[in-house]
Amino acid sequence: MAKGAPPTELVQLLTPDGDRIERAYDSSGTEYSIDLTDDEYRGLYRDLVVVRRLDAEGTALQRQGELGIWASLLGQEAAQIGSGRALRPQDMAFPTYREHGVLYCRGIDPIMPFGLFRGVDHGAWDPAELRCSMYTIVIGAQTLHATGYAMGIAKDGKVGSDDGEAVIAYLGDGATSQGDVSEAFVWSSVFHAPVVFFCQNNQYAISEPIERQTRVPLYQRSAGFGFPGVRVDGNDVLATYAVTRTALDNARHGQGPTFIEAYTYRMGAHTTNDDPSRYRIASEVEAWQAKDPIARMRAFLTKQQLADDDFFAEVEDEAKQVALRLRERVLAMPDPDPLQIFDHVYPHGSPELDAQRDQYAKYLDSFEGSLR
């Protein structure tokens, strides 16, 4: 603990007005600061804008009937980019269903999650190759997977140095109520696993406000399991980056797990199926608008003269182009062949399923002008 530093509940390095705070301290007194190059600051801004634009494309595509559903990250860009950029290449991420921004930071083709939301697949990609597990829909389940994976890292002797590997497990505020998440806390603590639990407290689990999950600030949850909890301003990309990086580095150096509560807000609906007007008032949303993660970063860049209008316009344009390319590719995604239903149930197949596939193929072929 930096002596004399006033511990604060919320770690913040950038005020909503875009003013830099030199150093911040979490509730246990750990100090956080950040010193990036100008390019890096601009890079973070670019990430935020591109990811918001990609996300908007998801929402638009759903409205146009091209996706079954879309889970928007609107408002949570800083939490995702800050944490996602804090990952080192060797690290492994376990997302929920909303971490499009994290995938982007991992360098994953933005089309990846669209298979799932379009309904052509279940969100299939190679976690080992992309260093990012697949989306997990069952709330909380991935936190145990992340913990087990991190136990494996420790078993492999891949902790204890700068080259050490670490795991980040994403979860929502609602997820903290699930037994699996508490069990992941127990396991990671007992086995001292190199895992960071990154909770985006976006204030809602669908319609339920955070008060339905806890009476005390969430970041306090982990101490009683034996590892530190930090609350960071999740709309502050710099603070999120700093806090996550510290936690990941602690993990990779063998100091065990950390729980991060990124205090943020879901600006949009839970998913495109949702109607938030039924459960929250406009003034609440407006209040959060004033803390917008992109506006604040833009104000910072402007005030520090790190970027001008040309830059902002260029980023805007780039985002538009990326979204356009994405849209085209989504529209071109082919429907899967019906017989794919039988694929990959087991690594080496099963005689029963082979028989079912054959029978179904014959059945399909029996129709004139068969679909296949």
Partner: protein
């Protein structure tokens, strides 16, 4: 008086009646309050009955069911909503080891009049875990009763009967039929309504017997209509109760028709069709002209939405199976 309403609205109306009738009835679940549930099945109920009776719970299914057990021990009649079929598994231990067994364990001293509502089945274009048909997991469990409604008229009364029942009831709602409209008889009474644990012939016929429940009842009826055009008369029976099964009407039917096809969305392997086939064969051994055939989901995880049409039993697959019983 009868009223035309959607199946979803009928459940809403039935829940309202149950809340009205008995102050011990409470609803519990994720997002069932202000939002009225993701399918709006509990729409308006928290507003009218208060947060004390329509409870938005923390996000944990074992917690929902486990606290419902305690509330039932205290004299309440909890009605739990599981948001989607695929999210009931975290509660599986509480359901199988506690809800199902406590009455037996206590030698009848503790009753658990708990209803667990589960919107089930596919056909709505949803992502993974939102289209499961887990009914066999519960029907195999002694101590639970399991029902599935198929029409608005049944839904309205069955949910009330389930809540009034002293048994723990797993109540399956055919989510893709939530918007299907039907006639609801509002004048009947709980005691006069068609019994909860009885199957029902929903279309009489003479040539073959088709059994279905939940979302597949309409599919079976569509198939019967199509068959009729080709001169084949199918008797369709809506099973309604999956545990206990009410198969006497089925045996009667199969003894007349000699042919039987069971339809469900759940994977065929160890699905309800297996049990029904085994029993029908045992009871109607000398009447059967062909083995009982099953039209079911394939033995795979539920596929992505763009494949669900191929995965789900439909009119054609039902007719194909009926044909096969004739060609045996």
């Amino acid at each position: 008086m009868t009223e035309t309403m959607s199946l979803g609205k009928a459940i809403n109306a039935g829940l309202r009646k149950a809340l009205d009738r008995d102050p011990k009835v409470i609803l519990m679940g994720e997002d069932i309050g202000k939002l009225g549930g993701v399918f709006r099945i509990t729409d308006g109920l928290q507003k009218d009955f208060g947060e004390d009776r329509v409870i938005d719970t923390p996000l944990a299914e074992s917690g929902i069911v486990g606290t419902a057990v305690g509330l039932a021990m205290r004299g309440y009649r909890p009605v739990c909503e599981i948001q989607f079929d695929g999210f009931v598994y975290p509660a599986y231990d509480q359901i199988v080891s506690q809800v199902a067994k406590i009455h037996f364990r206590s030698q009848g001293r503790v009753r658990l009049p708990i209803v667990i509502r589960i919107p089930f089945g596919g056909g709505i274009g949803a992502v993974e875990h939102h289209s499961e048909s887990p009914e066999a997991y519960f029907a195999h469990t002694a101590g639970l009763k399991v029902v599935a409604c198929a029409t608005a008229g049944d839904a309205y009364w069955m949910i009330q009967q389930a809540i009034a029942s002293d048994d723990p009831v797993i109540f399956f709602e055919p989510k893709r039929r939530y918007w299907d409209k039907g006639e609801v008889d509002l004048d009947s009474s709980l005691s006069e309504a068609y019994p909860l644990h009885a199957s029902r012939v929903v279309r009489p016929g003479t040539d073959a017997t088709v059994l279905a429940y939940g979302p597949m009842v309409r599919t079976a009826l569509d198939a019967a209509a199509a068959a009729a055009e080709e001169g084949r008369s199918l008797e369709v029976i809506d099973l309604r109760s999956l545990s206990p099964l009410d198969l006497d009407p089925v045996y009667g039917s199969v003894r007349r028709t000699g042919r039987c096809v069971v339809v469900h969305e759940a994977p065929g392997n160890l699905g309800l069709g297996a049990e029904i086939a085994a029993r029908v064969t045992e009871e109607c051994f000398y009447s059967l002209e062909a083995p009982v055939l099953r039209v079911a989901g394939f033995d795979t995880p539920y596929p992505p939405a763009r494949l669900e049409e191929a995965y789900l039993p439909d009119l054609d697959r039902v007719l194909d199976a009926v044909d096969r019983t004739f060609g045996w």
